[in-house]
Amino acid sequence: MTLLELSNVDVHYGAIQALKGISFKVDEGEIVTLIGANGAGKTTTLRAISGMLKPSRGSIKYRDEEVSGFKPHRLVARGLCHAPEGRGIFPNLTVRENLMLGAFLRRDQQGIEKDLERGFALFPRLKEREKQMAGTLSGGEQQMLSIARALMSSPKLILLDEPSLGLAPTLVEAIFATIQQINKQGVTVLLVEQNAHLALSIAHHGYVLETGSVVQSGKGEELLRSPDIRKAYLGE
């Protein structure tokens, strides 16, 4: 079943057009990845989906509802959560406060507690640092916090922007294993990555973006084998 579908979406920053008629879809239960070079429009696409930016044209359908132009909080209420680029944690709040903020719109105290435990089970390091200011965390821990916080909203669809950015290779692998684990628990994942190899190796489907347009798409392993992709994004 299609969870999210973009059709011919344009986004402008002032006079500059960042997205030119992007179309793709994400099926429920999948990991879908957007890959592409810097400036291809990956982050802009996520921002348009989560309501941080308003598309100038086109449609964004989420669970059969037209959500283009919705404010972010309305999408969070519908189970769509965006863990932004650069983690976007709140350094002036404690780790626990950051996590609770992820559950801002929820009222089911028991469910919140359960998801908090799930987050701590995924990332035991966060449990140890529960009362610390999030600004004191290392880069990797902040990334864990960002993902755990996104999960606190009990999302159906989670948008992850560059979760591997600036992390040591072993940590990157751990984060990606966690993403797969989250997906197995029933959360659909839309992943934006510069690390195309890693992203395609866990993704069911991939879309390649170039200067604001989708130029190629296919199953993860297909794209991984495609000579064009290998040449352009995997350095071969």
């Binding site: 989560s50 941080m52 909080h73 209420a77 709140f90 903020l101 801002f104 902040q142 916080r149």
Partner: protein, 300 residues
Amino acid sequence: MTELLQHLVNGVSLGAIYALIALGYTMVYGVLKLINFAHGDVFMLGAMVGWYASARWTNEARDPSIAGALAVTLLAMVVCGTVGFVIERAAYRPLRGSPRINSLITAIGVSFFLEYGGQYLFGPNPRAFGVLPHRANFIGGGISVGYVDLVTIGTSIVLMALLQRIVFHTRMGTAMRAVSWNPSVAALMGVNIDLVISFTFVLGSSLAAVAGILYASKYPSVHPLMGLMPGLKAFVAAVLGGIGNVPGAMLGGLLLGLAEQLVSGYTSSSWRDAVAFSILILILLVKPSGLLGRTDAEKV
């Protein structure tokens, strides 16, 4: 020694009022990065509503009681909270996203609107104010503490404790702190930014209303331009403590009140205002982020 203690008590009382006003400046700056120059006039409005409620519409001022003072204060809080809400909605929200200078100029415009609107309705002349029952000064160890000062200090402590609780221990407070760090990410958590900003204006404006009532009781008069100087002083206090920082505004207000009182006590009261603004210049030169202000966290 007793003279010093006396100045300290007076300074704390004045500082508590500055702190109450400074909190509004600092909270609004926190969530909106806007210096709301109309805030001093909301403070004036609080005192003016107090005057109407106690001297014009009722006889409270002639026969003051504690219950009456509370009722007058609550009314002023409600009116100022509403006005704060409307100011944000009508004047600042349409300009959100435009260059900051536009909002700043608008804030000055709103300030003029309230000042001259006040002169039109109320007339330019000061009027006597009194909502608290008269009590003799408390005298102990050679220090005399006015009843109004005691009430001021007590009220401020209660309000600041309450505010501290709201900002640091409630969902709305957590949302305010999140918005003040990064509004767009806060929105991604499901926080309704507009709601948080409205809440902040209502909260800050109702604190200013209480400050207005206390200030007008301390210097028992009300006039439409009375918000000018205390508003500027409270702004200095907010900058001194670190604009955007709630405990900083309390500390800044207190320090400024003490500094003013000590300077006017030991030299001359004509130096009072000069001291306040010298502090502003000094803090901007030496530590622009203020005493408790944040220096932006490093990006890892």
